[in-house]
Symmetry: C3
């Protein structure tokens, strides 16, 4: 069992108002915490909850430490300290070392001694798995795919042929990396497939959510930079490049050959059309459609505000008349000036 | 072969104008039905089709029974009766009892005698499967996951560690329950992962569509109420709570820590941002973005109406000038009043 | 190694200004090409790149052939010729003939002699696989599913019971065909499932992207025409019909019983509501919502333009007042006329 002293030491935070020997049974929100648990205060919106919490200890900034009567761990960045504390309380089972007897590994694959390969995995020819790599049950690696040190693929992930994954990456269940991009040329009789000759290259410390798809490049590669985090059910099309530490929330769709800078945050269900250039430090609000390149850092949006359907519909009808409405306004202005 | 009398009896509907011995070969729409088939009439928009159908029998409300010349099954709720009838005509193969020889089951898992486990399933340590549970081919259960009586998981489902499923649930192929929520704290050098310490808890009679993702809670759990139905490719983020019998159509994205009441219907491709409270009996129209908590039951929307692109673009340009247009209007009003 | 002469011959294009013996090591964009590589010029926007490219040969239309100093392959349709050339340079490993020892095939399945079945596949009872069919690792075929000559399913695909696939189709990893449609009837106590009695029928030369879902029909089938191409993470609901050679980009959601004509192009993240009729040769721009049937070929859109969030918000607020703004305008017009 962890004590408050252990946590203080491991997070490098000073402890005040409580015994180092106090056992801490878990981590919880201010409102959900029970005695014996540790919580954190990172948003002054919840100041009242800080006073009311039943937690035995709270991670808190110096300036708010007086608002809580129990033990405090003083942190200049309580949310970050909470993130680090969360790893101390993660008791989920870790993958078992070794190759499960039901897995199939091509004899030409090169595996570090300590890889962990789950039930019913299929590791193709010429794959390369570095030290500490783990594959969840049912994961499939195409020929020649390469995975760096300590990267973890959960259950039922697909890496298609030749996909490259850096070190300390995490790819969640159902994700598909290296599927064929959506490239076709029209011919009289229908669509002719453009074979996708590139691959997908993930940097280091990249996180990919469940059922997300990243297509291989048509010519050249699809490239995901170091430290990029991508949520569930995201589509990344062929030849997209994403800069370091950019975050992409669930259900976004990034079309082909678009380049996104580093340090961007793309909220959920955003669409970005193809062949755009987006600079560093751009933020896009939820469900916006980005149709032009962005050259200036900042926040961008599209769409309308929500409303009660009956009211909204009246406004939506007017939207369809907006150009005509504008022209009537202009006419009035001319009349006024006469 | 089912007869009209069988159907009448099993659905508890009175039969009129036809022989109980009449064999019924199948169920069809009014327009698609062939002689020998049963249809239903539930939308007066199709009244003409009721007169014209070649069906041998129709499920119909008393007031419309005279509009069809053949046999009728009288129902106060014909659409509901059709739903119940559909189960009588479902001849798809049912999973075979027993554990397939290619499946892998951890010796510490607790399985009822009559579970059905398909080829290449992987059942982790300490899992618990109640009576009548069936797992389709390639389904993976993480350590400690629990599935209630009679629940059915189709092929290639993933339950991550510790996920709990009630009784009589149905989870379709490719769904992932219990993936890590998208929680990270920013640090100078990039994102620090927040370990997701909660799990996913499904109530009873919950239906989950293909390739849908439900993330585990960060602190506390993600909770899906009894009788909730969720379509394909839906994203449910960490710590979302969904009330009883709420229906969520395909491709919706519900962001973290949002609570949705019971009896809501969320149409397809809707986005709901995080940390909102939505009361019972709220309805959201397709592809709307919900950005604020909803305290009053009713129907809500966002977006614009569709149009021919050339016309739409002219209006969309005016949208981008709308605040300026408004101010010009106000100026004119002032001039008028002078 | 391919020579320029080989390529000229296989694509049926005349070679000018270069030696037929010249070995060609790969295909690249004008800007990315290195000496020894072949490129193509299909968009006059990149005319400067044609002059500057380091490629040893370029596929180009007659009228632009003079703009490049090296070898040219003259094509009336350079983009189409590039598509055809791409197949010559695709050196990804092809599936190995035979049934992998870890696959499970029901003894009642009918397999052509030359099918290729990967590791941990599960082929259900009464399935039928024609000559040249290949299944990637972990693919699951439900009872009675049928796959035509030369069709390729990648890793971890699911065909549910009775799904039919034509010849020369390609289905990518994680796709689910034949999942239950989202059909329920409301009852006092909750939702009653409508059993989905139809199936999914794919024509010939259909391409389906990764993690895409196509639901089986409720009554009658979901039908995808010959030559249709569908990208990743697309939702096709029950009883949708899609006409020949229609293209649907990633993350679209097509609701139930909608019919889409042939030769349509639906851009990414588009929603189309249920029970609509859309004629041939309709084009929909990205992230539009189609709420009405379309009877006239052309291009259709919805939504607003993007903007910097601060400016956009001011306009979005005015959108919510649009009907009132319109009425104030009308009032002014009346005053003006007086």
């Amino acid at each position: 069992v962890l004590t408050l002293g252990d946590i203080s030491q491991q997070l490098g935070l000073s402890l005040r108002g409580g015994a180092a020997e106090l056992p801490i049974s878990g981590l919880a929100t201010l409102r959900g915490a029970k005695p014996g648990e540790l919580s954190f205060f990172s948003n002054r919106h919840y100041l009242k909850q800080l006073g009311d919490t039943r937690a035995s200890a709270v991670i808190v900034a110096e300036e708010f430490a007086g608002e809580f009567s129990g033990a405090v761990l003083i942190s200049p960045t309580p949310y970050l300290s909470y993130a680090k504390a969360s790893s101390l309380f993660d008791d989920r089972p870790v993958p078992v070392a070794g190759i499960h007897p039901t897995a199939w590994v091509d004899p030409t694959a090169r595996l570090a001694d300590d890889v962990k390969i789950g039930p019913h995995c299929a590791v193709g020819p010429e794959c390369s798995l570095d030290s500490g790599v783990s594959l969840g049950a049912g994961t499939v690696l195409g020929a020649g795919s390469r995975i760096g040190r300590g990267s973890r693929l959960d259950a039922r992930v697909t890496l298609c042929d030749g996909v490259e994954v850096g070190f300390a990456c995490h790819i969640q269940s159902g994700a598909v990396l290296g599927s064929d991009g959506f490239g076709y040329a029209p011919e009289e009789s229908g669509w002719v497939k453009i074979h996708q000759l590139g691959t997908v290259k993930l940097g280091d410390r990249v996180h990919i959510g469940a059922n997300t798809c990243i297509d291989r490049g048509a010519l050249g590669d699809t490239v995901i930079g170091n430290g990029v985090i991508i949520d569930n059910l995201v589509q990344i099309a062929h030849n997209v490049h994403i800069g370091e530490n950019t975050a992409i929330a669930a259900c976004c769709a990034i079309a082909g050959s678009t380049t996104i800078g580093s340090g961007c945050t793309i909220a959920g269900a955003v669409g970005i059309i193809g062949h755009l250039q987006i600079v560093d430090n751009v933020h896009v609000t939820a469900m916006s459609l980005i149709t032009h390149s962005i050259t200036v850092p900042g926040s961008y949006s599209s769409g309308t505000q929500m409303g009660e359907t009956h009211e909204w519909r009246k406004n939506a009808v007017r939207f369809s008349q907006l150009d005509k409405i504008y022209k009537r306004l202009r006419e009035l202005e001319r009349a006024e000036r006469r």
